[in-house]
Symmetry: C2
């Protein structure tokens, strides 16, 4: 419960499976009503920080339409019909890096836009990642896989090298769960 109520909803643009736009009539927590509130429906997606046995996170260098330069990114993608977020995360990790991982921790689910919706981002931290094959070429993003240790991921977050919001978020949230190695790490005196 958040105090908001959807009184009515109607589709005003049904573009494709990637995008539908609705208008909602909503009642606010204080009882007032706002009609015609725009609401964006895009697919839920996952991103994974998968750490190998030697403590490196599998990242990708990609070209994305919305980024004006190549970006560091995380394995991930849309959740397909019938998948749980964890299913999708395992599949995307395999398809994009050829790796599987033994231990999975959910890092939360987040509304992409607090006002418009735009689906949810689901993040995971996976450890014990090892090559198992199964990579599928992606000819839209032109990805190159790179493995970064914790200090390198932290530096990339600080430098804004993850140029899209979900990748920066997933990497930075994972850092809050990923202990710096004893005696290592520039933040540990």
């Amino acid at each position: 419960m958040n105090g908001w109520t959807t009184v009515a909803r109607r589709t005003i643009l049904a573009h494709s499976r990637f995008l539908t736009v609705e208008e909602h009539d909503v009642r606010l927590p204080d009882g007032r009503r706002i009609d015609g509130w725009p609401w964006v429906v895009t697919p839920d997606y996952v991103n994974v920080v998968a750490i190998t046995g030697d403590g490196r996170a599998l990242c990708l260098e990609v070209d994305k339409y919305a980024c004006d330069a190549p970006s560091l990114s995380l394995p991930g993608g849309f959740i397909e019909a019938g998948e749980t977020p964890l299913d999708a995360a395992r599949r995307e990790l395999r398809e994009e890096t050829g790796h599987s991982a033994s231990d999975w921790t959910a890092l939360g689910s987040y509304a992409v836009d607090g006002n418009r919706g735009a689906g949810h981002a689901h993040f995971f931290l996976a450890t014990g990642a090892a090559p198992t094959g199964g990579a599928v070429a992606d000819d839209l993003e032109n990805p190159t896989c790179v493995a970064l240790d914790r200090d390198a991921v932290a530096a990339a977050v600080r430098e804004g090298a993850f140029r899209c919001l979900p990748w920066a978020a997933g990497a930075a949230i994972a850092l809050a769960h990923w202990p710096a190695p004893p005696g290592g790490g520039r933040r540990s005196p």
Copy 2:
């Protein structure tokens, strides 16, 4: 340069200042062309992690339509016409918390959706935050201001208490820039 080219663009839904939808015809890095690529235009926005002299970040507890429960959030909002991101960040901090801050660090600008655009999120870390007045009541979000120390922000990030993507991202990215106090912090042995 990211290797993608916009060949043509047309507006297919002009809803309001909060939402326009376009279709783009795009040329991929490998020369192929995709027509009718959906592209979402929403306003750029800012979020701020503002830290007081005693080491606490000014957060808000809010009700948002897209969140199914009350959420921890960061001061922020849309960039208004004629504002730089920093202008907007200073204004939103003042309006939402009644504080101003002396030292500002830009934490990067991020495409909200790597495929659809949906504007950019701009994050800032501000220190030396102190009450100066100027708060403006927000009757849509029902905010309550709370001041959290670094450990509490890190715990909130780990627990998913920032329930919208930009707040979780802004808080987690700020942690990568905000040194743990000497001898303190649960991650420092």
